[in-house]
Symmetry: D2
Subunit: 115 residues, 4 copies
Protein backbone atom coordinates (compact mmCIF):
# COMPACT_ATOMS: atom_id res chain seq x y z
CA UNK A 1 0.00 0.00 0.00
CA UNK A 2 1.36 3.45 -0.84
CA UNK A 3 1.50 6.23 1.70
CA UNK A 4 -1.54 8.04 0.30
CA UNK A 5 -3.50 4.81 0.23
CA UNK A 6 -2.65 4.30 3.88
CA UNK A 7 -3.89 7.81 4.70
CA UNK A 8 -7.04 7.10 2.70
CA UNK A 9 -7.69 3.95 4.75
CA UNK A 10 -7.07 5.74 8.03
CA UNK A 11 -9.46 8.53 7.02
CA UNK A 12 -12.13 5.99 6.04
CA UNK A 13 -11.84 4.33 9.44
CA UNK A 14 -11.86 7.71 11.18
CA UNK A 15 -15.06 8.80 9.44
CA UNK A 16 -16.75 5.41 9.84
CA UNK A 17 -16.06 5.31 13.59
CA UNK A 18 -17.73 8.73 13.93
CA UNK A 19 -20.53 8.21 11.42
CA UNK A 20 -19.23 11.23 9.48
CA UNK A 21 -19.83 9.96 5.95
CA UNK A 22 -23.10 11.87 6.02
CA UNK A 23 -21.12 15.16 6.31
CA UNK A 24 -18.38 14.17 3.87
CA UNK A 25 -20.07 14.99 0.60
CA UNK A 26 -17.60 16.13 -2.06
CA UNK A 27 -19.15 19.61 -1.88
CA UNK A 28 -18.51 19.85 1.86
CA UNK A 29 -15.01 18.42 1.58
CA UNK A 30 -14.10 20.91 -1.15
CA UNK A 31 -15.32 23.68 1.15
CA UNK A 32 -13.26 22.31 4.02
CA UNK A 33 -10.19 22.12 1.80
CA UNK A 34 -10.69 25.75 0.71
CA UNK A 35 -11.00 26.83 4.34
CA UNK A 36 -7.69 25.13 5.15
CA UNK A 37 -6.05 26.62 2.06
CA UNK A 38 -7.10 30.01 3.44
CA UNK A 39 -5.52 29.22 6.80
CA UNK A 40 -2.34 28.13 5.06
CA UNK A 41 -2.35 31.41 3.15
CA UNK A 42 -2.77 33.29 6.42
CA UNK A 43 0.58 31.91 7.57
CA UNK A 44 2.24 34.04 4.89
CA UNK A 45 0.03 37.10 5.19
CA UNK A 46 2.00 40.35 5.37
CA UNK A 47 5.32 38.53 4.95
CA UNK A 48 7.58 39.45 2.08
CA UNK A 49 8.51 36.66 -0.30
CA UNK A 50 11.99 36.76 1.21
CA UNK A 51 10.63 36.33 4.72
CA UNK A 52 8.45 33.45 3.57
CA UNK A 53 11.61 31.63 2.45
CA UNK A 54 13.01 31.57 5.98
CA UNK A 55 10.15 31.15 8.41
CA UNK A 56 10.61 31.31 12.15
CA UNK A 57 10.08 27.91 13.85
CA UNK A 58 6.57 28.75 15.12
CA UNK A 59 5.46 29.98 11.70
CA UNK A 60 6.91 26.87 10.09
CA UNK A 61 5.04 24.66 12.56
CA UNK A 62 1.82 26.52 11.80
CA UNK A 63 2.34 26.17 8.05
CA UNK A 64 3.09 22.49 8.53
CA UNK A 65 -0.23 21.94 10.33
CA UNK A 66 -2.16 23.63 7.55
CA UNK A 67 -0.31 21.63 4.89
CA UNK A 68 -1.42 18.53 6.79
CA UNK A 69 -5.05 19.66 6.87
CA UNK A 70 -5.08 20.39 3.14
CA UNK A 71 -3.56 16.98 2.39
CA UNK A 72 -6.02 15.13 4.61
CA UNK A 73 -9.03 16.76 2.96
CA UNK A 74 -7.51 16.23 -0.47
CA UNK A 75 -7.10 12.51 0.16
CA UNK A 76 -10.59 12.22 1.64
CA UNK A 77 -12.19 14.17 -1.23
CA UNK A 78 -10.34 12.06 -3.79
CA UNK A 79 -11.62 8.94 -2.10
CA UNK A 80 -15.22 10.16 -2.14
CA UNK A 81 -14.89 11.05 -5.83
CA UNK A 82 -13.10 7.83 -6.76
CA UNK A 83 -10.08 9.79 -8.01
CA UNK A 84 -6.46 8.64 -7.80
CA UNK A 85 -4.68 11.90 -6.89
CA UNK A 86 -1.19 10.67 -7.80
CA UNK A 87 -2.28 9.53 -11.25
CA UNK A 88 -4.11 12.83 -11.78
CA UNK A 89 -1.02 14.81 -10.71
CA UNK A 90 1.24 12.81 -13.00
CA UNK A 91 -1.06 13.46 -15.97
CA UNK A 92 -1.16 17.16 -15.11
CA UNK A 93 2.61 17.34 -14.90
CA UNK A 94 2.89 15.90 -18.41
CA UNK A 95 0.30 18.36 -19.70
CA UNK A 96 2.17 21.24 -18.04
CA UNK A 97 5.42 20.17 -19.67
CA UNK A 98 3.73 20.58 -23.05
CA UNK A 99 2.08 23.89 -22.16
CA UNK A 100 5.31 25.31 -20.79
CA UNK A 101 8.23 24.21 -23.01
CA UNK A 102 11.44 24.91 -21.11
CA UNK A 103 12.93 27.14 -23.78
CA UNK A 104 9.90 29.42 -23.99
CA UNK A 105 9.06 29.48 -20.28
CA UNK A 106 12.59 29.97 -18.94
CA UNK A 107 12.67 32.75 -16.35
CA UNK A 108 9.14 33.74 -17.33
CA UNK A 109 6.07 33.56 -15.09
CA UNK A 110 3.51 34.33 -17.82
CA UNK A 111 0.54 32.04 -18.29
CA UNK A 112 0.95 29.57 -21.15
CA UNK A 113 -1.76 31.35 -23.12
CA UNK A 114 0.51 34.40 -23.21
CA UNK A 115 3.86 32.75 -23.91
Amino acid sequence: MTELERLREQLRDFAAARDWDQFHSPKNLAMALAVEAGELLETFQWLTEEQSRKLAPEALAAASEEVADVLLYLVRLSDQLGIDPIAAASRKLLANAEKYPADKARGNSKKYTEL
Copy 2:
Protein backbone atom coordinates in the same frame (compact mmCIF):
# COMPACT_ATOMS: atom_id res chain seq x y z
CA MET B 1 11.32 6.52 -3.22
CA THR B 2 7.66 7.07 -2.28
CA GLU B 3 5.14 8.48 -4.72
CA LEU B 4 5.17 11.98 -3.18
CA GLU B 5 8.96 12.00 -3.18
CA ARG B 6 8.87 11.15 -6.88
CA LEU B 7 6.46 14.04 -7.54
CA ARG B 8 8.73 16.29 -5.49
CA GLU B 9 11.73 15.34 -7.64
CA GLN B 10 9.79 15.85 -10.87
CA LEU B 11 8.65 19.28 -9.70
CA ARG B 12 12.20 20.23 -8.76
CA ASP B 13 13.42 19.27 -12.22
CA PHE B 14 10.48 21.07 -13.83
CA ALA B 15 11.21 24.30 -11.97
CA ALA B 16 14.99 24.06 -12.46
CA ALA B 17 14.65 23.56 -16.23
CA ARG B 18 12.56 26.74 -16.41
CA ASP B 19 14.48 28.78 -13.85
CA TRP B 20 11.27 29.14 -11.85
CA ASP B 21 12.72 28.89 -8.36
CA GLN B 22 12.74 32.66 -8.29
CA PHE B 23 8.91 32.65 -8.50
CA HIS B 24 8.42 29.70 -6.15
CA SER B 25 8.64 31.43 -2.81
CA PRO B 26 6.45 29.78 -0.16
CA LYS B 27 4.26 32.90 -0.19
CA ASN B 28 3.63 32.61 -3.92
CA LEU B 29 3.07 28.87 -3.77
CA ALA B 30 0.54 29.24 -0.95
CA MET B 31 -1.26 31.80 -3.15
CA ALA B 32 -1.21 29.44 -6.11
CA LEU B 33 -2.57 26.62 -3.95
CA ALA B 34 -5.41 28.85 -2.70
CA VAL B 35 -6.27 29.80 -6.30
CA GLU B 36 -6.50 26.13 -7.24
CA ALA B 37 -8.56 25.34 -4.13
CA GLY B 38 -10.97 28.03 -5.37
CA GLU B 39 -11.15 26.40 -8.79
CA LEU B 40 -11.80 23.05 -7.14
CA LEU B 41 -14.58 24.65 -5.12
CA GLU B 42 -16.05 26.10 -8.31
CA THR B 43 -16.60 22.55 -9.59
CA PHE B 44 -19.21 22.10 -6.87
CA GLN B 45 -20.73 25.59 -7.01
CA TRP B 46 -24.54 25.54 -7.11
CA LEU B 47 -24.65 21.75 -6.82
CA THR B 48 -26.53 20.17 -3.95
CA GLU B 49 -24.55 17.85 -1.73
CA GLU B 50 -26.44 14.96 -3.29
CA GLN B 51 -25.47 16.06 -6.80
CA SER B 52 -21.84 16.42 -5.70
CA ARG B 53 -21.86 12.72 -4.72
CA LYS B 54 -22.61 11.63 -8.30
CA LEU B 55 -20.83 13.98 -10.65
CA ALA B 56 -21.29 13.80 -14.40
CA PRO B 57 -18.14 12.58 -16.21
CA GLU B 58 -17.10 16.08 -17.36
CA ALA B 59 -17.52 17.54 -13.88
CA LEU B 60 -15.54 14.64 -12.42
CA ALA B 61 -12.74 15.21 -14.93
CA ALA B 62 -12.69 18.91 -14.05
CA ALA B 63 -12.56 18.13 -10.32
CA SER B 64 -9.78 15.64 -10.95
CA GLU B 65 -7.67 18.28 -12.70
CA GLU B 66 -8.08 20.70 -9.82
CA VAL B 67 -7.25 18.00 -7.28
CA ALA B 68 -4.05 17.44 -9.26
CA ASP B 69 -3.18 21.15 -9.21
CA VAL B 70 -3.71 21.39 -5.47
CA LEU B 71 -1.53 18.32 -4.87
CA LEU B 72 1.27 19.58 -7.12
CA TYR B 73 1.44 22.95 -5.34
CA LEU B 74 1.19 21.23 -1.97
CA VAL B 75 4.18 19.00 -2.74
CA ARG B 76 6.15 21.92 -4.16
CA LEU B 77 5.37 24.17 -1.19
CA SER B 78 6.29 21.41 1.25
CA ASP B 79 9.61 20.99 -0.53
CA GLN B 80 10.39 24.71 -0.37
CA LEU B 81 9.54 24.73 3.34
CA GLY B 82 11.41 21.51 4.13
CA ILE B 83 8.20 19.87 5.36
CA ASP B 84 7.34 16.18 5.04
CA PRO B 85 3.61 16.35 4.22
CA ILE B 86 2.92 12.68 5.01
CA ALA B 87 4.53 12.90 8.43
CA ALA B 88 2.62 16.13 9.13
CA ALA B 89 -0.67 14.53 8.06
CA SER B 90 -0.06 11.47 10.24
CA ARG B 91 0.64 13.68 13.25
CA LYS B 92 -2.52 15.68 12.55
CA LEU B 93 -4.61 12.54 12.28
CA LEU B 94 -3.43 11.43 15.73
CA ALA B 95 -4.22 14.86 17.16
CA ASN B 96 -7.67 14.78 15.58
CA ALA B 97 -8.37 11.38 17.09
CA GLU B 98 -7.78 12.91 20.52
CA LYS B 99 -9.81 16.04 19.80
CA TYR B 100 -12.71 14.04 18.40
CA PRO B 101 -13.21 10.90 20.52
CA ALA B 102 -15.49 8.56 18.58
CA ASP B 103 -18.12 8.31 21.30
CA LYS B 104 -18.51 12.08 21.66
CA ALA B 105 -18.22 12.96 17.98
CA ARG B 106 -20.47 10.24 16.58
CA GLY B 107 -22.97 11.68 14.12
CA ASN B 108 -22.00 15.19 15.19
CA SER B 109 -20.33 17.82 13.00
CA LYS B 110 -19.61 20.30 15.80
CA LYS B 111 -16.12 21.69 16.26
CA TYR B 112 -14.15 19.96 19.03
CA THR B 113 -14.27 23.11 21.12
CA GLU B 114 -18.05 22.72 21.25
CA LEU B 115 -18.32 18.97 21.83
Copy 3:
Protein backbone atom coordinates in the same frame (compact mmCIF):
# COMPACT_ATOMS: atom_id res chain seq x y z
CA MET C 1 -19.71 61.32 0.29
CA THR C 2 -21.19 57.84 -0.14
CA GLU C 3 -20.90 55.16 2.49
CA LEU C 4 -18.12 53.28 0.70
CA GLU C 5 -16.20 56.51 0.15
CA ARG C 6 -16.45 57.17 3.86
CA LEU C 7 -15.07 53.69 4.62
CA ARG C 8 -12.31 54.31 2.10
CA GLU C 9 -11.32 57.54 3.88
CA GLN C 10 -11.39 55.88 7.29
CA LEU C 11 -9.19 53.06 6.03
CA ARG C 12 -6.75 55.54 4.51
CA ASP C 13 -6.46 57.34 7.84
CA PHE C 14 -6.14 54.04 9.68
CA ALA C 15 -3.28 52.87 7.49
CA ALA C 16 -1.55 56.26 7.46
CA ALA C 17 -1.60 56.53 11.26
CA ARG C 18 0.10 53.11 11.48
CA ASP C 19 2.44 53.52 8.50
CA TRP C 20 0.86 50.45 6.95
CA ASP C 21 0.86 51.54 3.31
CA GLN C 22 4.10 49.61 2.92
CA PHE C 23 2.22 46.37 3.68
CA HIS C 24 -0.89 47.25 1.69
CA SER C 25 0.23 46.29 -1.79
CA PRO C 26 -2.65 45.03 -3.95
CA LYS C 27 -1.07 41.57 -3.87
CA ASN C 28 -1.09 41.49 -0.06
CA LEU C 29 -4.60 42.93 0.17
CA ALA C 30 -5.93 40.33 -2.28
CA MET C 31 -4.32 37.66 -0.08
CA ALA C 32 -5.90 39.15 3.04
CA LEU C 33 -9.30 39.25 1.34
CA ALA C 34 -8.97 35.57 0.34
CA VAL C 35 -8.06 34.65 3.91
CA GLU C 36 -11.19 36.40 5.20
CA ALA C 37 -13.33 34.78 2.49
CA GLY C 38 -12.04 31.45 3.81
CA GLU C 39 -13.04 32.40 7.36
CA LEU C 40 -16.47 33.43 6.11
CA LEU C 41 -16.77 30.06 4.38
CA GLU C 42 -15.80 28.33 7.62
CA THR C 43 -18.92 29.76 9.25
CA PHE C 44 -21.00 27.54 6.97
CA GLN C 45 -18.75 24.47 7.03
CA TRP C 46 -20.65 21.24 7.67
CA LEU C 47 -24.01 23.04 7.73
CA THR C 48 -26.71 22.00 5.32
CA GLU C 49 -28.03 24.71 3.02
CA GLU C 50 -31.21 24.69 5.07
CA GLN C 51 -29.28 25.26 8.30
CA SER C 52 -27.35 28.09 6.67
CA ARG C 53 -30.65 29.87 6.00
CA LYS C 54 -31.44 30.08 9.73
CA LEU C 55 -28.21 30.59 11.61
CA ALA C 56 -28.06 30.60 15.38
CA PRO C 57 -27.28 34.06 16.82
CA GLU C 58 -23.59 33.28 17.52
CA ALA C 59 -23.05 31.88 14.03
CA LEU C 60 -24.76 34.94 12.55
CA ALA C 61 -22.54 37.24 14.59
CA ALA C 62 -19.46 35.34 13.38
CA ALA C 63 -20.60 35.53 9.75
CA SER C 64 -21.27 39.24 10.19
CA GLU C 65 -17.71 39.84 11.39
CA GLU C 66 -16.26 38.03 8.41
CA VAL C 67 -18.53 39.91 6.01
CA ALA C 68 -17.13 43.09 7.56
CA ASP C 69 -13.54 41.95 7.08
CA VAL C 70 -14.12 41.06 3.44
CA LEU C 71 -15.76 44.44 2.79
CA LEU C 72 -12.97 46.38 4.51
CA TYR C 73 -10.26 44.66 2.45
CA LEU C 74 -12.34 45.05 -0.70
CA VAL C 75 -12.64 48.80 -0.18
CA ARG C 76 -8.96 49.13 0.70
CA LEU C 77 -7.86 47.06 -2.30
CA SER C 78 -10.11 49.06 -4.62
CA ASP C 79 -8.57 52.26 -3.30
CA GLN C 80 -5.03 51.01 -3.88
CA LEU C 81 -5.97 49.97 -7.42
CA GLY C 82 -7.90 53.15 -8.19
CA ILE C 83 -11.07 51.14 -8.83
CA ASP C 84 -14.62 52.32 -8.07
CA PRO C 85 -16.21 49.10 -6.75
CA ILE C 86 -19.81 50.31 -7.11
CA ALA C 87 -19.31 51.30 -10.75
CA ALA C 88 -17.58 47.97 -11.43
CA ALA C 89 -20.44 46.04 -9.77
CA SER C 90 -23.06 47.95 -11.76
CA ARG C 91 -21.28 47.17 -15.01
CA LYS C 92 -21.02 43.52 -14.03
CA LEU C 93 -24.71 43.36 -13.20
CA LEU C 94 -25.56 44.64 -16.67
CA ALA C 95 -23.22 42.11 -18.26
CA ASN C 96 -24.77 39.31 -16.19
CA ALA C 97 -28.26 40.31 -17.32
CA GLU C 98 -27.14 39.77 -20.90
CA LYS C 99 -25.35 36.50 -20.15
CA TYR C 100 -28.30 35.14 -18.20
CA PRO C 101 -31.55 36.14 -19.96
CA ALA C 102 -34.40 35.54 -17.51
CA ASP C 103 -36.30 33.19 -19.80
CA LYS C 104 -33.33 30.90 -20.41
CA ALA C 105 -31.89 31.00 -16.89
CA ARG C 106 -35.15 30.58 -14.96
CA GLY C 107 -34.81 27.91 -12.30
CA ASN C 108 -31.48 26.88 -13.79
CA SER C 109 -28.09 27.14 -12.10
CA LYS C 110 -26.00 26.25 -15.15
CA LYS C 111 -23.14 28.50 -16.21
CA TYR C 112 -24.05 30.85 -19.07
CA THR C 113 -21.69 28.98 -21.39
CA GLU C 114 -23.91 25.93 -20.98
CA LEU C 115 -27.33 27.54 -21.19
Copy 4:
Protein backbone atom coordinates in the same frame (compact mmCIF):
# COMPACT_ATOMS: atom_id res chain seq x y z
CA MET D 1 -31.40 54.67 -0.70
CA THR D 2 -27.64 54.17 -0.36
CA GLU D 3 -25.56 52.66 -3.12
CA LEU D 4 -25.30 49.24 -1.46
CA GLU D 5 -29.04 49.21 -0.84
CA ARG D 6 -29.58 49.91 -4.53
CA LEU D 7 -27.30 46.99 -5.44
CA ARG D 8 -29.19 44.82 -2.97
CA GLU D 9 -32.50 45.69 -4.62
CA GLN D 10 -31.12 45.04 -8.09
CA LEU D 11 -29.79 41.66 -6.99
CA ARG D 12 -33.14 40.76 -5.43
CA ASP D 13 -34.91 41.57 -8.69
CA PHE D 14 -32.27 39.69 -10.68
CA ALA D 15 -32.69 36.53 -8.58
CA ALA D 16 -36.48 36.77 -8.46
CA ALA D 17 -36.76 37.10 -12.25
CA ARG D 18 -34.72 33.91 -12.63
CA ASP D 19 -36.18 31.99 -9.71
CA TRP D 20 -32.70 31.73 -8.24
CA ASP D 21 -33.55 32.13 -4.56
CA GLN D 22 -33.53 28.35 -4.32
CA PHE D 23 -29.81 28.34 -5.17
CA HIS D 24 -28.93 31.39 -3.07
CA SER D 25 -28.59 29.81 0.33
CA PRO D 26 -25.99 31.56 2.51
CA LYS D 27 -23.83 28.45 2.26
CA ASN D 28 -23.83 28.57 -1.54
CA LEU D 29 -23.28 32.33 -1.65
CA ALA D 30 -20.31 32.05 0.72
CA MET D 31 -18.88 29.40 -1.62
CA ALA D 32 -19.44 31.63 -4.64
CA LEU D 33 -17.74 34.53 -2.86
CA ALA D 34 -14.73 32.35 -2.01
CA VAL D 35 -14.48 31.24 -5.64
CA GLU D 36 -14.42 34.88 -6.78
CA ALA D 37 -11.88 35.78 -4.08
CA GLY D 38 -9.70 33.03 -5.58
CA GLU D 39 -10.08 34.51 -9.04
CA LEU D 40 -9.19 37.94 -7.68
CA LEU D 41 -6.10 36.42 -6.08
CA GLU D 42 -5.17 34.83 -9.40
CA THR D 43 -4.86 38.31 -10.90
CA PHE D 44 -1.84 38.86 -8.69
CA GLN D 45 -0.36 35.38 -8.91
CA TRP D 46 3.39 35.40 -9.63
CA LEU D 47 3.54 39.20 -9.55
CA THR D 48 5.87 40.89 -7.13
CA GLU D 49 4.28 43.31 -4.69
CA GLU D 50 5.87 46.11 -6.67
CA GLN D 51 4.32 44.88 -9.91
CA SER D 52 0.94 44.58 -8.22
CA ARG D 53 1.10 48.30 -7.42
CA LYS D 54 1.25 49.25 -11.09
CA LEU D 55 -0.88 46.81 -13.02
CA ALA D 56 -1.05 46.82 -16.81
CA PRO D 57 -4.47 47.97 -18.13
CA GLU D 58 -5.68 44.43 -18.94
CA ALA D 59 -4.69 43.12 -15.50
CA LEU D 60 -6.40 46.08 -13.87
CA ALA D 61 -9.58 45.43 -15.86
CA ALA D 62 -9.47 41.77 -14.81
CA ALA D 63 -8.98 42.70 -11.15
CA SER D 64 -11.83 45.17 -11.43
CA GLU D 65 -14.20 42.48 -12.69
CA GLU D 66 -13.32 40.19 -9.81
CA VAL D 67 -13.71 43.00 -7.28
CA ALA D 68 -17.20 43.49 -8.73
CA ASP D 69 -18.04 39.79 -8.39
CA VAL D 70 -16.90 39.70 -4.78
CA LEU D 71 -18.96 42.79 -3.96
CA LEU D 72 -22.09 41.45 -5.65
CA TYR D 73 -21.95 38.17 -3.74
CA LEU D 74 -21.15 40.01 -0.52
CA VAL D 75 -24.22 42.22 -0.89
CA ARG D 76 -26.41 39.25 -1.83
CA LEU D 77 -25.13 37.12 1.06
CA SER D 78 -25.64 39.99 3.50
CA ASP D 79 -29.20 40.36 2.27
CA GLN D 80 -29.94 36.66 2.73
CA LEU D 81 -28.48 36.78 6.24
CA GLY D 82 -30.21 40.04 7.17
CA ILE D 83 -26.85 41.72 7.81
CA ASP D 84 -26.08 45.39 7.18
CA PRO D 85 -22.52 45.18 5.78
CA ILE D 86 -21.72 48.87 6.26
CA ALA D 87 -22.73 48.80 9.91
CA ALA D 88 -20.73 45.59 10.42
CA ALA D 89 -17.66 47.13 8.76
CA SER D 90 -17.93 50.28 10.87
CA ARG D 91 -18.09 48.23 14.06
CA LYS D 92 -15.09 46.19 12.93
CA LEU D 93 -13.10 49.30 12.17
CA LEU D 94 -13.69 50.56 15.71
CA ALA D 95 -12.68 47.20 17.15
CA ASN D 96 -9.53 47.18 15.02
CA ALA D 97 -8.59 50.65 16.24
CA GLU D 98 -8.60 49.26 19.78
CA LYS D 99 -6.72 46.11 18.87
CA TYR D 100 -4.09 48.02 16.93
CA PRO D 101 -3.25 51.24 18.80
CA ALA D 102 -1.34 53.51 16.41
CA ASP D 103 1.70 53.86 18.64
CA LYS D 104 2.17 50.11 19.09
CA ALA D 105 1.28 49.06 15.56
CA ARG D 106 3.26 51.72 13.68
CA GLY D 107 5.31 50.16 10.90
CA ASN D 108 4.54 46.73 12.28
CA SER D 109 2.54 44.00 10.52
CA LYS D 110 2.32 41.65 13.50
CA LYS D 111 -1.05 40.32 14.58
CA TYR D 112 -2.54 42.15 17.56
CA THR D 113 -2.07 39.08 19.74
CA GLU D 114 1.69 39.47 19.25
CA LEU D 115 2.03 43.22 19.62
